[in-house]
């Protein structure tokens, strides 16, 4: 059974992700969820409270995605898994990731850099693979992934297999 609280969270995520935080009214969220507007405030105190609750929910998915890479021992697999990140991202948790990218620009304050541990892990991997400038390589790859993710989430289609094959050959993987 799905509670009304969960319906609000779901509607909030969808609307914030597609229309933006400021542009989405609490009234619209309530209508979409099929509940009274006041219930939003009973459960989440205010609009920002709802946003924070949505964020905390998604944070789990975030950590799961990253920890899979952080815990990897084989440096080649670290690079490979990192490259595959934005390819999955297009389908899985699509909405949550759109929200993340959107809010990075809309509300700069609630955006601590979550990619830091990934970049450190990548640096370590490139070092083990004897790259000349592992830190620069890590930064380079992470910038590329951010750009690709951004384009993907904004609706730009691309050939996943071709892109993956290209990157794997570029980094001498598998």
């Amino acid at each position: 059974m799905v509670t009304k609280k969960e319906l609000i969270l779901k509607s909030g995520l969808e609307l914030f992700a597609t229309e933006g935080y400021t542009a989405t009214s609490t009234n619209k969220i309530a209508q979409k969820a099929g509940v009274s507007e006041s219930l939003i405030f009973r459960h989440f105190y205010n609009k920002e409270g709802l946003l924070k609750a949505i964020f905390e929910e998604g944070e789990q998915a975030f950590k799961a995605l990253y920890s899979n890479i952080i815990e990897e021992k084989d440096p080649m697999m670290v690079v490979a898994k990192t490259i595959e990140l934005p390819l999955d991202l297009a389908t899985e948790h699509h909405e949550f990731w759109r929200l993340q990218f959107r809010l990075k620009w809309e509300l700069q304050h609630m955006n601590p850099d979550k990619t830091k541990p990934l970049i450190e892990k990548l640096t370590e991997a490139f070092a083990k693979l004897n790259y000349k400038s592992p830190a620069q390589e890590a930064r380079f790859l992470s910038c590329y992934l951010e750009g690709l993710a951004s384009q993907t989430l904004l609706g730009g289609a691309f050939d996943e297999k071709e892109t993956k094959a290209f990157l794997f050959s570029k980094y001498n993987l598998v």
Copy 2:
């Protein structure tokens, strides 16, 4: 002499770029520009009209920046100039570029892909330089640049010289 119309354009750009389009009220813009709110509507018809006017102004800078690359004959210089793009971007027309990136997420509708001619030029350059997959290389580089620009505009500092040197050696330039 700076006209009141220009003051509105300037204030609008600054506020839209830092706070976002939806979150910025016409009242706030008028106060920042030191004019009456109604003057905005006299000059630009409505809020969206002001945004479009700001965009058209910035479009000039955009074209200048790109045409410098498009008209370049030497393929190595094409790649070199492309790499240098996000490095200048941090200082020159900083505010306009923040607006561009912000609005790409906030108002998806007014975002036709302006990078297409650049990507085509890059593909051509990589082909001349005998890269195996010039189209993929062009897309790869443009994604990286988008990611770097995004991080730069959001305030993430980085060593310009070091990054440039790294990229130049990666692409065997100069």
